[in-house]
């Protein structure tokens, strides 16, 4: 019996940002993201209410995927951050913090949304214009002649996640591995056929729980799982034999010999007629015969291979790999040049065969794995990164961080520049935008069709939002300072600046003796003990002064030890997404929900 219920009317919320419930939820979400940010960020334990797996993380992707809200506006923001992450992997928390902060500042300033949106758009253009300038003060070139800046980039990504729980040595090791893996995936020379196009290889990650972090390693080629029982003594013998390349056949179709591919429906078999299972097995063995006569040395199948076929192949000295899984098909195709065969009823076409240089057995933790070596050196290079860590929680966080690092490194190939990390880009950019905006306030306001005071209000909110991101790096009651010469970000741990009181609060400007300020700024570019006569002055980050010195560009001839670098491409996009999302959220007038 079916029953009909009358459809309820849709619920319409007028100006959702003005309702306290929405504001409260947005504040909660903002707190979550802010508290996760940076190397001293706080972790979140996420699990469901029936005692499921506990996820401990401060990384945006797993966090936002796990936490969902009922609030449409929050869903909108979450989805756009996740979309940004799927393209750039990095700067997810940054996007969220900036977006919420922009919305918050506009609400507090009392500007009409339409005015604020106009101003935000204009200021975003100023920012992107500034970042794209040749001589932008917070940009450094990535030098491919040395690994230094690449390693710094990778280390910045990896060290920003405290749930990885790495010692300094371990951080260095993993960062070097990430760069190593990245370099292995960059092909040498041109891709044959298309000289102006470069096809990058890929990195496959294999994780091993309970091992030492320093046992992590990168191998050219692929490591594939082979159950211990199947690692036949004859395999290891032939594996060490002579130089390759060996011929490889790759199947995506199941070779288990069952009838599942005939689909639903019943089958009638005449008595006396041969068993369909036997017929299929015969067909499979024919395939095996062909492989043996074609001198295939490695026989790979994504799914199950019938034991009789395996037995036959092994007895002819073929290395058999079954249940490879779909994830490894693409890399193996890329590495060996094989074509995946999806049919076993017809002979294997000659051009479907691929090549490997050889294979050997490697032990990864408690697992024995077969290492397939790439056929030739200037490869479409595929490599495997083996990550080891002491427990599963830290391992999954580390894996995510490494994959992010790889993506960030790849982005440098398109734009070989990086941004200063540690909050310095934000403070520096805020100073630039504030300075430029103030000096050009009159004409910009005119062209935007807003009053000058509105423009200055909007400008103030925008710059504060940028600085909020730098402020979010601090979680332990410390003080964030900005120097008045270069507008870089300095963070003073709790309990050190307070009692020494060298940074003056009065006018916001004070000559400090530097006793309490750390030796370098957040990114490591500016040193406290500058040239004599050019002592730095600091002011707390959240106190805004109208008069701001124009930030000086640090000479590029000196190459100071940069501690933290951020991805240029990812951050530029994050900035755009954050401002556009904030504008969109501000623009929402009604939320209409279907409650059925």
């Amino acid at each position: 019996m079916s029953r009909l219920t009358k459809k309820g009317a849709s619920v319409c919320t007028d100006s959702p940002l003005s309702t306290s419930e929405v504001c409260r939820k947005m504040t909660v979400m903002r707190q979550i993201l802010t508290s996760c940010f940076g190397p001293n960020g706080r972790l979140k334990q996420i699990h469901n209410n029936v005692g499921g797996h506990v996820l401990t993380t401060s990384t945006s992707t797993p966090l936002l995927q796990a936490v969902s809200s009922s609030e449409p506006l929050l869903k909108l923001i979450t989805a756009s951050i996740l979309n940004h992450l799927s393209r750039f992997s990095d700067c997810g928390l940054y996007t969220g913090i900036l977006c919420f902060s922009l919305v918050d500042h506009v609400q507090k300033s009392g500007l009409r949304p339409s005015v604020a949106i106009k101003i935000n758009k204009q200021l975003l253009e100023v920012c992107t214009g500034f970042l794209n300038q040749e001589d932008c003060g917070c940009k450094v070139n990535v030098d491919f002649n040395s690994c230094q800046s690449l390693v710094t980039l990778a280390r910045s990504v990896i060290s920003s996640k405290p749930a990885c729980v790495l010692t300094e040595g371990e951080q260095q090791h993993i960062s070097t591995l990430a760069v190593h893996a990245f370099l292995l995936t960059v092909p040498c020379g041109d891709t044959p056929g298309s000289p102006d196009r470069v096809r990058l290889g890929r990195t496959v990650t294999v994780t091993s729980e309970g091992q030492f972090v320093l046992d992590s390693a990168v191998f050219p080629g692929l490591l594939v799982n082979v159950p211990d029982m199947q690692l036949h003594p004859t395999d290891s013998e032939r594996i060490r034999r002579g130089p390759g390349p060996y011929r490889l056949a790759l199947f995506t179709v199941s070779l288990s010999g069952d009838l599942s591919e005939f689909g639903e429906g019943s089958l009638e078999v005449h008595c006396g007629a041969p068993d369909p299972e036997d017929l299929i097995l015969d067909q499979l063995l024919k395939l095996g015969e062909q492989a043996v006569t074609d001198q295939v040395e490695v026989f790979v199948c994504q799914r199950v291979i019938h034991p009789v076929l395996q037995h036959y192949l092994r007895s002819h000295g073929v290395v058999v790999i079954e249940r490879l899984g779909i994830a490894l098909i693409e890399p193996i195709v890329q590495m060996t040049g094989a074509q995946a065969v999806a049919l076993y009823q017809t002979p294997i076409p000659q051009e479907a065969y691929g090549q490997v240089k050889g294979c050997c057995v490697r032990t990864v933790g408690s697992r024995k794995m077969l290492h397939l070596l790439p056929p030739r050196e200037p490869a479409p290079a595929v490599c495997t990164m083996v990550l080891c860590h002491r427990n599963d929680t830290m391992l999954s966080e580390l894996k995510a961080a490494c994959q992010r690092a790889e993506h960030v490194l790849r982005l440098t190939l398109r734009d070989p520049v990086a941004l200063l990390g540690g909050g310095c880009t934000e403070t520096h950019m805020a100073a630039y935008v504030s300075n430029k905006g103030t000096t050009e306030a009159a004409e910009t306001a005119l062209s935007l069709g807003v009053s000058q005071s509105q423009y200055l209000l909007g400008l103030n909110g925008f710059c504060s939002s940028l600085e909020t991101v730098a402020l979010a790096l601090e979680h332990d009651g410390g003080t964030s300072l900005i120097d008045l010469t270069y507008a870089h970000h300095w963070s003073v741990p709790q309990g050190e600046a307070i009692h020494s009181g060298t940074v003056l609060q009065g006018e916001g400007l004070q000559r400090g003796d530097g006793g309490e300020v750390p030796a370098t700024c957040g990114c490591g570019l500016v040193e406290r003990s500058a040239r004599p006569g050019l002592e730095l002055e600091w002011t707390p980050l959240n106190t805004r002064s109208n008069l701001r010195p124009a930030p000086l560009v640090v000479g590029k001839d000196t190459t100071p030890q940069l501690r933290v670098l951020d991805s240029f491409t990812a951050k530029l996009n994050a900035l755009q997404v954050a401002v556009e999302m904030a504008n969109l959220v501000l623009d929402v007038r009604y939320v209409i929900e279907d409650v059925n």
Binding site: K25, K44, Q45, A163, H270, V304
Partner: protein
């Protein structure tokens, strides 16, 4: 830490501030291990109120296996412990104990207003210092020489059944009433995420370290004694294993090699504990009928085949999707009445006979009818053989494991297997009642038969044995040991205190003159000394608990003694001198130390890698919990949590 709940459907999230509950939970969980530390382990009963089932445990990881851990910190701790156990098979208790004391230390730091980054950096620095201390104070295994004992022979050199009372087994009588037939694992509630290791994982070892560790110039029995940690009986069995493996290895009677991968255990309830012994090859229980076959074929070399999977007509390999709706159509009556199964059986039997097979080892189950048929043709079919055993037979007999018996051909048959009846275990109403010993030529595989008359102790005995086996394994692998019985921890405390003093001087120097800050480096952390002291207190707690559990003194006395020892260390006395003084003092007092413990306290050693990794993992756990500020629960109905002050909806 605050709790925050997000629901997928209704969308609710709730937050509130509480004082770090996570660290408190971790401390509470770790308290479970306090009585499991040291050589005198106290067994624990874990009882399930709802089913009335109970089990007896005496290792930390088993306790966790039986607990219903609802809190997220508990799950995190469990995950860490299982990971450690999987790799090292020992040291989980030490891990959890240190996680407990250090989470208390971290909590105290928070109370004192020390910021989290300062706690994290100082604690990891403290551990780094102690790692260095341990490395420089480790003892090479070549340097560990037997200490002359009263009788002149070492405890473990005699027969496996030593005269000394084992502290573990000494207390069984009080638990004699326990009758837990099925050895069932008690789970109060089911959570698919507490993937408790299958029993098979415990009894068969993973192929982690695949080669036998052969050591020249070391005396395995003495090393074994040094790391026996009170499990004298179990360690004697381990030494027997090593002797047997050395013999198989061609090293003669010397005891030079030990391969933990060529070792399986077989548990036999019903026999008293002194029937535990070590046998070459594997031990399998057979029915009397099957065993009679063994009688007939004594002193013969058998031919063997190995079957991966079940030996039955219906069985198909993994990944084969059986199609059920195949119907046979026939136009004439089948008069012979032969079923498909009959055909298959005939086929298999013919194949086996053709290849002169006498023994079929099956990984899965074997069809009963075929087993009977085979027996009539003098072919012994053994089912449920562990994969490790199959693997060893494949390596030593030359047999190629196959999935289907119909696949068998001449080159799949292995040779050179001997079977003998080891013991009649009938009488306790078990179907399989004869224990037979199957040995392949040149095999390195050794089986340890563990027996006990108290059924519920089997698991404990097995855990104890594997603990010993792996301690010896790690000893030979590291080639280094740490001084045991709390000596290493004492050194760590001593060094940390030295650093605290140096730090104080440095700070004073900075105040007086102008010590450049850069020179201080990491010492720039103003709370370093406080954190170090709290960390050191954790180790003090460890040593004092160890002393308390050993029955030497009360906890207060222990702290006094340790402080005295630390003073002596500062006075420049060597560690050995201090400990011998401690022992002398115990002699005069009326201590509870048993004579053999007194005798051996000076030569107890711990595994270096295991201990250092356990410390590191304990600190990892503390850091993960310490740095967590929010617990997010997803999929909750907001109505459930309404009115709860400590939660917020999203």
């Amino acid at each position: 830490m605050s709790i925050l709940q997000a629901s997928q459907k209704m969308g609710s999230t709730i937050i509130s501030q509480r004082l770090h509950v996570g660290l408190q939970q971790l401390t509470a969980l770790a308290a479970v291990t306090h009585s499991l530390l040291g050589p005198n382990k106290k067994h624990k009963f874990i009882q399930d109120e709802s089913t009335g089932e109970s089990s007896l445990v005496c290792t930390c990881f088993r306790v966790f296996e039986h607990l219903d851990l609802t809190c997220s910190v508990g799950q995190l701790a469990n995950e860490t412990i299982q990971a450690h156990q999987k790799v090292f098979h020992s040291g989980a208790g030490c891990l959890l104990f240190m996680a407990g004391v250090w989470s208390r230390a971290a909590l105290e730091c928070l109370h004192r207003g020390i910021s989290i980054p300062h706690i994290v950096s100082a604690m990891s620095e403290g551990l780094d210092i102690c790692w260095e201390v341990c490395r420089s104070n480790s003892v090479s295994i070549e340097d560990i020489r037997p200490v002359a004992s009263v009788s002149g022979t070492s405890v473990l050199q005699g027969s496996p059944h030593t005269v000394f009372q084992n502290p573990v087994t000494g207390m069984n009588s009080s638990h004699g009433a326990l009758n837990n037939k099925k050895q069932s694992r008690i789970k109060l509630t089911h959570s698919r995420h507490f993937c408790a290791n299958d029993k098979a994982d415990e009894t068969t070892t993973p192929g982690l370290f695949s080669h036998a560790v052969t050591c020249k110039g070391v005396d395995i029995p003495h090393l074994a004694e040094a790391v026996s940690h009170g499990c004298v009986d179990a360690m004697s069995l381990v030494v027997e294993v090593s002797k047997m493996q050395s013999k198989n290895n061609g090293s003669g009677d010397s005891c030079r090699t030990f391969d933990v991968n060529k070792l399986v255990t077989c548990t036999l309830p019903g026999l008293s504990e002194d029937h535990s012994c070590v046998l070459p090859g594997c031990v399998i229980l057979l029915s009397a009928e099957q065993a009679s076959l063994v009688h007939h074929m004594k002193e013969q070399k058998w031919q063997v085949v190995l079957i991966n999977g079940d030996l039955s007509e219906k069985y198909r390999h993994l990944g084969f999707n059986n199609k059920n709706d195949i119907s046979k159509v026939t136009d004439k009556l089948d008069l012979k009445g032969l079923s498909k199964e009959d055909d298959w059986e005939d086929n298999v039997l013919t194949t086996l006979l053709k290849n002169n097979v006498n023994l079929v080892l099956v990984n899965g189950e074997a069809s009963e009818r075929l087993t009977q048929h085979c027996m009539r043709h003098r072919i012994l079919v053994v089912e449920r053989v562990k994969p490790d055993i199959l693997k060893d037979f494949a390596e030593t007999t030359g047999a190629v494991p196959v999935t289907y018996a119909t696949q068998l051909s001449k080159h799949c048959v292995g040779t050179g297997v001997e079977i003998s009846i080891w013991r009649d275990c009938s009488g306790n109403r078990r179907r399989a009642s004869m224990a037979v010993n199957i040995v392949a030529d040149r095999t390195a595989l050794v089986t340890v038969v563990l027996t006990t008359s108290v059924h519920s102790k089997l698991q404990t005995l097995e855990d104890c044995f594997w603990g010993c086996a792996y301690r010896l394994h790690h000893t030979l692998k590291d080639r280094k040991l740490l001084p045991g019985a709390g000596k290493t921890e004492l050194l760590c405390v001593h060094h940390l205190q030295k650093h605290i003093e140096d730090n104080g001087e440095q700070t004073r120097g900075k105040d007086g003159a102008s010590a450049p800050q850069a020179k201080q480096g990491k010492a720039g952390n103003p709370h370093r000394a406080d954190v170090f002291q709290l960390m050191a207190d954790g180790w003090m707690d460890y040593i004092s608990t160890l002393m308390l559990n050993s029955g030497t003194c009360s906890k207060v006395d222990a702290w006094t003694t340790i402080n005295q020892q630390l003073k002596d260390l500062n006075g420049g006395l060597s560690l050995d001198a201090i400990f011998s003084r401690l022992l002398l003092r115990d002699d005069t007092e009326d201590g509870m130390m048993s004579p053999d413990m007194k005798h051996s306290a000076g030569k107890v050693y711990d595994n270096m890698t295991v201990k250092l990794e356990a410390w590191r993992k304990a600190l990892d756990l503390v850091f993960l919990v310490l740095q967590t500020d929010t617990e997010i629960i997803t999929g909750i109905d907001p109505k459930q949590v309404e009115g709860q002050s400590n939660v917020m909806a999203l």
